[in-house]
Symmetry: none
Subunit: 266 residues, 2 copies
């Protein structure tokens, strides 16, 4: 019973993307398809993955299917945004991460940060960051929303009001042309607003799909935030507005990280 250096990384990729393919992993590690198949067989026997034709998926028993699909959607894009956001987060601060697949991606990029105090109302974020033993995790209370593992309601806002964060990373369902952050659930909006009030620095993470959607409840304006991270350029007028509001706009590009993984770190 011997492990392989690849196994942990395969699991990480699987958790990140929800699935892995033999072909892609072989290209990623620079080994043959057979070798990857052997790895997947081992991991499946250990119950860490479920083997499927052409690859493997996370073992069933993890939550909501619709949610998993949504998370897999634009996974590369979200990761790129999350990486840019995480790069601007220093070690040792207090940080809030709220509901949303993009904020979860940020959590994944924070796995090697140290001495963070992370407060979240997202059970998935808590689960992800539990792997980072160098940071403390606090979960707000609240009513569990099955769709995405979010905790909302007065318990959540009440907990948040007991903190003051160095930084808050929030997501939203839509971002309209006026620079207003919008969401579907009024309870979640209350939580987001409480977060904004309790934070020294607030940043938005939102991929380009948010720009072409709309939602009924207003959270705040980009004018109220310190920065936003996205994978697309903002419409010209909104970009100008942000400049006027002193809201930093960080544009990230998707990089294909499927290349060899053993580039020597400096």
């Amino acid at each position: 019973m011997s492990q392989t250096l690849r196994h942990p990384e395969i699991l990480e990729i699987a958790r990140r993307d929800g699935k892995v393919t033999v072909e892609r992993l072989a290209a990623h590690f620079g080994v043959t398809l057979q070798t990857i198949r052997r790895d997947l067989t081992d991991l499946a026997e250990a119950g860490r993955l479920d083997r499927v034709h052409g690859g493997a998926v996370l073992p069933s028993g993890t939550s909501n299917i619709g949610y998993e699909e949504r998370r897999a959607l634009n996974a590369d894009t979200k990761r790129a945004i999350a990486r840019a956001c995480a790069a601007d987060i220093p070690d040792g601060i207090s940080l809030f991460l709220n509901i949303g697949t993009t904020t979860e991606a940020v959590a994944r990029e924070l796995l090697h940060h140290r001495d963070l105090l992370v407060v979240t109302n997202n059970m998935n974020v808590a689960n992800i960051l539990a792997a980072n033993t160098d940071c403390e995790i606090v979960v707000t209370g609240g009513q569990l929303r099955r769709a995405d593992g979010g905790l909302v309601g007065p318990l959540a806002t009440g907990t948040i009001r007991q903190f003051k964060f160095d930084c808050a990373v929030i997501g939203c369902s839509a971002l309209d042309a006026d620079g207003d952050l919008l969401d579907f659930d009024i309870q979640e909006v209350s939580v987001s607003q409480a977060i904004l009030r309790q934070s020294r620095r607030t940043v938005l993470v939102a991929d380009h799909t948010k720009l072409s959607r709309t939602a009924p409840v207003r959270i705040a304006s980009l004018a109220d935030l310190d920065a936003m991270y996205s994978d697309a350029d903002l419409p010209e007028k909104l970009a100008a507005d942000c400049e006027g509001w002193a809201t930093e706009v960080v544009r990230s590009w998707v990089v294909d990280d499927a290349g060899p993984s053993w580039q020597e770190p400096g």
Copy 2:
């Protein structure tokens, strides 16, 4: 006796990169492969790293693994206890489930109950019961304990004080001959005591292994509870005490519901 200077640095590199290779370390330190192998063997024996072919990786969730093993331990017994407990829980009530593998088993047996309001400080319980769409789930806030997904601390007790439960199901680490419930973590004890204060009916779930163990912090006495569910008969004196305290003792038996086990013909 000088400890090897390389060991701390190897661990640091491992934490930074998640993994180390024999080859890279040998080049880094300017020593032979054998020497690095000896270092890695030492570190693996000390439990600081997991040895793999070609290098070593961070021990993946040492605490988590211990937990998984603990959960698998006596799974049949715990399910039997949980089934008896769940059978006495009517639909439509408010219910608290706290930390513990046995309470998680109770959650699994509640998957077909209806109209429950379940409050828990156990992330695993919340994840399990999320599958039951006929009940509402509230998670208390608190500091995340990686070992078992428990939420503890003042946030947890504060949340609990905002409720009044029809029933609370609690576990404990040990149950001594005097009928005292004991635990290891004083924070968790505070939570359990808060739960007991806020509940109309309180029950304990504990398998027989709890009777032969001990722990330092006292939660309460069986005299303060309404019922206990176990898989073993209590010692004679304690059983008599429970009768005097009007504490109902429910003894359950393991039934093999796994169907016939595999029998190869011929």
